[in-house]
């Protein structure tokens, strides 16, 4: 006799956790399967968690959720060879009772989610890889096969929350392989350091955090960004670029990360820290046009597996949690109405997504991935020109300012014709409008 559940959720990342918790809380019999040794063992995140979506699911999460620092300052830096130009935004109002964003360590958060799921009666089983979807003769998904002995498990509906590789949907022919220009590869390290040093170097108090988003020459002209985040007793540093660029280039990801760590404006911030882990993970960056089929008879896809990621704003975990919740709510509503999980009924999930910030934001930025990909000057010539322009401007050398202005313009135009500059500006404005 094969055991049967109301729902099976595959994966214990933010999307699967949100779905499982929501289902269990409404009293549904739900099983969550995770291939890692423990929840979080396979997961990587740069480390900013946005509170809003989590708060919708667990309103009092702040009582015991192991976050690191709440973010009071956000910096965006453009790196030149030995310099940066940047903007910093800091506000005392970020020091509220209910901060909006936190730095996190993924493994800690995922373990905490596991406890929350158990508290509401959900069943989470780790060390179990789902190997395929089980379908009935009509093609409807009716369960999953796992790598455990006698590992077939049946359910009325299966939610795939298995992340960016999305092997199950690919194997079942429900989505294609990701194109190299639609996925980024990011590598990161966690660097442990005395909290006092973090506080001194970033000018913050005990619970306060600073995050730096980095663009510029460190990506060697490839489409990509880097980041440096402050945790309680550690710093997270990472860099990611489109896989199509890594593929055409000759710089391995770990060398790029080493160069970032050695950069003269980054090095003093991480000096004296001890590296404790090196991680790599893909990020779905194709946006709206890369979103696959999201549901069918007996199944739904959520989170990174559905390509829900807003690269422009570096949001992923919140889209994951939101889509997981919406999938679960669809299941709950259909069950309450005594309806089954046919494709036409599950279309309600797509409707929820379309009405939410997820699809609206992805749609808004739908041209951005293509523009970045086809216009490498944003990642090579521009950072170079902008940093040297600022350098020129701030160098006091008895050259009059009007001449300086001319020099700067001339240099820009030499690198990129006037039409090119205007064209780029138009493209960018269109893409983010």
């Amino acid at each position: 006799m094969v055991e049967k559940f109301d729902a099976i959720v595959i994966g214990a990342g933010p999307s699967g956790n949100a779905a499982t918790y929501t289902l269990a809380k409404q009293g549904l019999k739900v099983l969550q399967l995770e291939r890692g040794e423990y929840p979080g063992a396979k997961n990587v995140q740069g480390g900013i968690m946005y509170a809003h979506e989590l708060e919708k699911i667990i309103p009092d999460f702040r009582d015991d959720c192991p976050t690191e620092r709440h973010i009071i300052e956000q910096r965006v830096w453009l790196l030149g060879d030995d310099s940066y130009v940047g903007t910093n935004y800091r506000s005392e109002s970020f020091n509220s009772d209910k901060p909006n964003r936190y730095t996190i360590i993924r493994a800690n958060i995922d373990k905490w989610w596991g406890e929350q799921i158990r508290k509401v009666g959900g069943l989470q089983i780790c060390e179990t890889t789902v190997t395929e979807l089980i379908r009935d003769p009509s093609g409807k998904v009716i369960g999953v096969r796992t790598d455990r002995e006698g590992g077939d498990i049946h359910a009325d509906v299966v939610i795939m929350a298995d992340g960016v590789n999305a092997l199950l949907a690919k194997r079942a022919g429900l989505q294609g392989e990701a194109a190299p220009e639609n996925v980024a590869l990011a590598v990161k390290e966690i660097l442990f350091i005395d909290p006092e040093l973090i506080q001194q170097r970033f000018g913050i108090k005990e619970d306060e955090g600073v995050v730096i988003e980095i663009m510029g020459k460190v990506t060697k002209g490839m489409v990509g960004t880097a980041f440096l985040y402050t945790n309680k007793e550690s710093l997270t540093i990472g860099i990611g670029c489109l896989i199509s660029d890594f593929k055409n280039g000759d710089c391995p990801p770990y060398r790029m990360l080493e160069d970032l760590k050695k950069h003269p404006v980054i090095k003093p911030l991480i000096e004296g820290a001890e590296m404790k882990e090196y991680a790599a993970h893909m990020i779905p960056e194709g946006g709206y046009k890369a979103v696959p089929q999201l549901y069918g008879d007996g199944w739904m896809v959520v989170g990174d597996a559905a390509h829900f990621n807003n690269a422009a704003h570096r949001e992923g975990s919140n889209l994951a949690m939101a889509s997981g919740r919406m999938a679960a709510e669809t299941v709950i509503e259909l069950k309450a109405a005594g309806k089954g999980y046919s494709a036409s009924n599950l279309a309600a999930y797509k409707k929820k997504l379309d009405d939410s910030f997820i699809m609206k934001d992805l749609k808004k930025y739908r041209e951005l991935p293509g523009i970045m990909h086809g216009n490498k000057q944003f990642f090579g010539a521009y950072p170079d020109e902008i940093t040297s322009a600022v350098h020129n401007w701030f160098t006091v050398d008895s050259v009059d300012k009007k001449t300086k202005e001319k020099q700067i313009m001339k240099s820009f135009i030499k690198r990129r014709s006037v039409m090119g500059l205007v064209g780029d500006a138009i493209k960018l404005v269109r893409a983010v409008r």
Partner: protein, 97 residues
């Protein structure tokens, strides 16, 4: 070569639960790698699992694999990599992530 040493130092910090003699990724055809011009896997893999060898082909050692999936994505046009996750519980086990 110095670069190789550096990745190994990085990977050394990680926790792995090795599934002895059950590599989860395999190169399907040795010849296909020999005729592959770019051998992009040798550049793209963040754990340096792929290296060019004396026969003009590619050697794969999955011990340090971070299970990112990049090699599968870069080799999709050739389709020469059989890519799977390790058995449940095995492979990389991030302490922090």
């Amino acid at each position: 070569m110095s670069i190789m040493v550096k990745v190994e130092e990085k990977l050394y910090q990680n926790r792995y639960i090795v599934d002895e003699s059950r590599p989860h990724i395999q190169i399907k055809s040795v010849e296909a790698c020999q005729s592959c011009e770019k051998q992009a896997c040798t550049v793209c893999c963040p754990a340096a699992c792929y290296s060019k060898n004396e026969t003009g082909g590619v050697t794969l050692v999955t011990d340090g694999c971070l299970e990112c999936g990049t090699c599968r994505v870069v080799c999709q046009d050739k389709g020469n990599i059989a890519w799977d996750y390790p058995r449940g519980g095995y492979g990389i086990s991030y302490k922090f992530g």
